[in-house]
Amino acid sequence: MGNRISHGVEGHRQGERRAPKVIVFACRWCALIGADGAGKKRVQLPLDFRVIPVECAARVEPDSIIRAFSYGIEGVGVLGCHLGGCRYHNANHRAIKRLDLLKKLLATVGIDSGRLLTSFGTGHEYHQFAGILKDFFQELRGLPPLDEWARAATIDAIKV
């Protein structure tokens, strides 16, 4: 839909492969504040992340994380409040358990569980948020691109 603009490529040095795409589900009670702080402090961040604010980390459906991967998004972050700091009476405990299990599934099918970043109570301060994000991009760059998943699904792969 609508026009398309090519972008993101300048985000990093020439010759480097295109930066991984990242979606961040940010709890509006902490990580979103961290993100906002990073902006206020004008911390320069990699281009290719998009923040989706949510009421609570526990609201994030695993399905939407999986769907993100299926769209070719290479990293998904779920950032919530620290244990005991959830505004919704330990709702984030449930998120932790659930996402931990989701990582197991991703790992099973060879999607590095590092692609799902779950972090609780660590993104509230602007420098924390920026740090987490930069490290995440760093880690993702270290992984084989996710679209190999689709590419792997050709017969030549059978030979390995």
Binding site: M1, G2, N3, R4, I5, S6, H7, G8, V9, E10, G11, K21, I23, R28, W29, I33, A35, D36, A38, G39, K40, R42, V43, Q44, L45, L47, D48, R50, V51, I52, V54, E55, C56, A58, R59, V60, E61, P62, D63, S64, R67, A68, Y71, I73, G84, G85, C86, R87, Y88, H89, N90, A91, R94, A95, R98
Partner: protein, 567 residues
């Protein structure tokens, strides 16, 4: 189904803060032929616009839906939205996209990339805006009555202060006399006033205020209803009473532990528990010459890994009490650490030392040993400070045990939908909500929540009273207003009865017990109680087929946002 009306887009230059990085004009061009955009406007600085003008603009745009691409909510965004709401625009029709903190400022050097990102962010915003619905609010009439459970210091204080404010109060007490724990003790730490004087003003209020009804020897048979209108059935020795309340204050207190099986308790004469000592002191001077207190009995250990935080002040107080009765008395306090937080308690601690009370620190791994055949004779303790084994002659040993949660409150918890922690104490809303439970309209104070000294219990009682007062003094309560949190919220989860399979995931995961299953011709379907729902969305994530949703941000919205996230 969400209406797919078009929206007006308002882009803010922020005096160049945004437009120097993001090419707003090309964004405008692209947005103009966007399927869900009616018109586009670029403003120099949104926050200097008169909100009236802005709201007019949005009304005139016809659709009433507006997407505002400007700074973050925390900067000025939120206040602008609030302003528009106050001028009658539906919050569900407004979407704020942060392209300053969220884009321009963090990608200064990549103008082209930032513009692209802004395009995506705006698309994500539109996706959510055109689909979004608002929760329909639910309101309920409020009864200007409050039920206070427990007539200990906390309960009495709560009842009294509500009474003074002219609120009808039902004060429910399981025993005969009001006073609770204070009925069992000699004096109140740290000020050593007698329980009587401590409670006098509140008891007076309770007796004299016509608005306060006291129900002694009462049991709660059943409790129904939600905030604004609870209906409680009472058993007051034999006879049944039906009472109604707009709010409930839990002040059921805690209970003392007996050190059964520890330190030869009940085996040797002269070994007694703190609470027994209180009884003796209450009766009059205690004839003992060498008294040894042992602290942290059955506390800060495997079974009870917490510090009740009041045993130390209590022992100090009792030590002083014994001294009063018999100035010759030698009093030792064997402790693992003396916990006396705050200036008042620290002062008190120093006073007792000055008075000659002796303190010996022992270690958890080698606790004191009681000696004696049928009556206690001495206590052997390894002094952790000096490293020498000491033998203290003793004719009385006081085992100071912590308060622990009442074991008879689980029924009450179940009836009211309250949650208790693994130690059995009632849980409160974390952080800035010290006297609010997870159930709207039910407040808590005193040791039912966590062991406190009488003084603290009274303060909490008054605090809870104030909270309850704010709730019941109004005419009605709106569900949306119940959110105890600042800012707007995703209001109330909504169930699609057609699709709901009745699996009960939402019922079991909801931190607020807002979901219940109810039979709908043969099948069971989930139902959300708007008065309990806080809109956290935990249920949404576990609903197998998305039949429970947050109208303000349903699965469709998230899905669309993902689709738009990287054009």
């Amino acid at each position: 189904m969400a209406s797919k009306r078009k929206a007006i887009c308002i882009l803010c230059r922020c005096y160049g803060e945004i437009s120097d990085v993001i090419d707003l004009d090309s964004l405008k061009d692209m947005l103009t032929d966007h399927p869900s955009v009616s018109s586009v406007e670029i403003l120099d600085c949104l926050c200097l616009e008169a909100v009236e003008g802005l709201s007019e603009k949005i009304r005139q745009s016809g659709t009433g839906k507006a997407l505002i691409a400007a700074c973050s909510p925390i900067a000025r965004g939120d206040s602008i939205l609030r302003g528009l709401e106050q001028r009658g625009l539906n919050p569900a029709d407004l979407e704020l996209v942060d392209i300053r903190e969220g884009c321009a400022w963090i990608h200064k050097d990549y103008s082209k990339g930032a513009t692209g990102k802004a395009w995506d962010l705006i698309n994500m915003g539109l996706a959510s805006l055109v689909r979004r619905e608002g929760s329909e609010d639910a309101t309920t009439l409020v009864r200007h009555e409050v039920m206070v459970v427990g007539a200990g210091p906390a309960g009495l204080a709560a009842a009294a202060s509500l009474g003074q404010l002219g609120i009808k109060v039902h004060l429910v007490e399981r025993s005969k006399r009001p006073g609770g724990m204070l009925n069992l003790i000699s004096r109140v730490a740290p000020d050593e006033t007698s329980p009587g004087e401590k409670l006098a003003p509140y008891l007076k209020e309770v007796e004299e205020n016509a608005g306060i009804t006291y129900y002694p020897l009462a049991r709660i048979a059943s409790a129904e209803g939600t905030v604004g209108n609870f209906a409680i059935r009472l058993q007051v020795d034999g006879t049944e009473h039906m009472i109604h309340a707009g709010a409930v204050i839990i002040a059921t207190g805690a209970q003392a532990l007996l050190p059964q099986g520890l330190y030869r308790y009940k085996e040797l004469e002269g070994v007694l528990s703190a609470i027994e000592l209180e009884r003796h002191l209450k009766a009059g001077p205690v004839k003992a010459r060498r008294i040894v207190f042992i602290q942290c009995v059955a506390a800060r250990d495997q079974a009870r890994p917490y510090c009740a935080a009041i045993c130390c002040p209590v022992s100090l107080k009792n030590a002083m009490g014994l001294r009063k009765g018999n100035p010759e008395a030698e009093v030792y306090i064997l402790h693992r650490d003396i916990i006396c937080p705050g200036s008042t308690l620290e002062q008190y601690y120093r006073r007792t030392m000055a008075e000659g009370i002796r303190f010996i620190r022992f270690e958890e791994q080698n606790p004191p040993v009681i000696e004696g055949t049928d009556h206690v004779q001495a206590v052997r303790v390894y002094d952790a400070a000096t490293g020498i084994m000491r033998e203290l002659d003793a004719d009385m040993v006081v085992l100071s045990t912590p308060l622990s949660a009442r074991r008879d409150t689980h029924g009450l918890a179940r009836m009211l939908g309250l949650t208790r922690d693994h130690l059995g104490f009632f849980e409160v809303q974390p952080l800035m909500h010290p006297v609010e439970t997870t159930v709207p309209g039910i407040f808590i104070c005193g040791s039912a929540r966590w062991p406190v000294l009488a003084g603290r219990a009274i303060t909490q009682g008054e605090a809870a009273a104030m909270k309850a007062f704010c709730l019941v003094s109004g005419q009605e309560i709106a569900a949306l207003g119940l959110s105890q949190f600042r800012g707007e919220k995703f209001a109330i989860a909504r169930v699609d009865r057609e699709a709901c399979t009745g699996c009960g995931n939402c019922v079991h995961i909801c931190p607020y017990e807002a979901c219940t299953l109810e039979p709908v011709n043969g099948a069971s379907k989930s139902r959300v109680d708007p008065m309990h729902c806080t809109g956290c969305g935990t249920c949404v994530a576990v609903c197998p087929n998305g039949s429970i949703q947050l109208p303000e941000q349903d699965a469709q919205v998230i899905g669309e946002m993902l689709m738009q996230s990287f054009s």
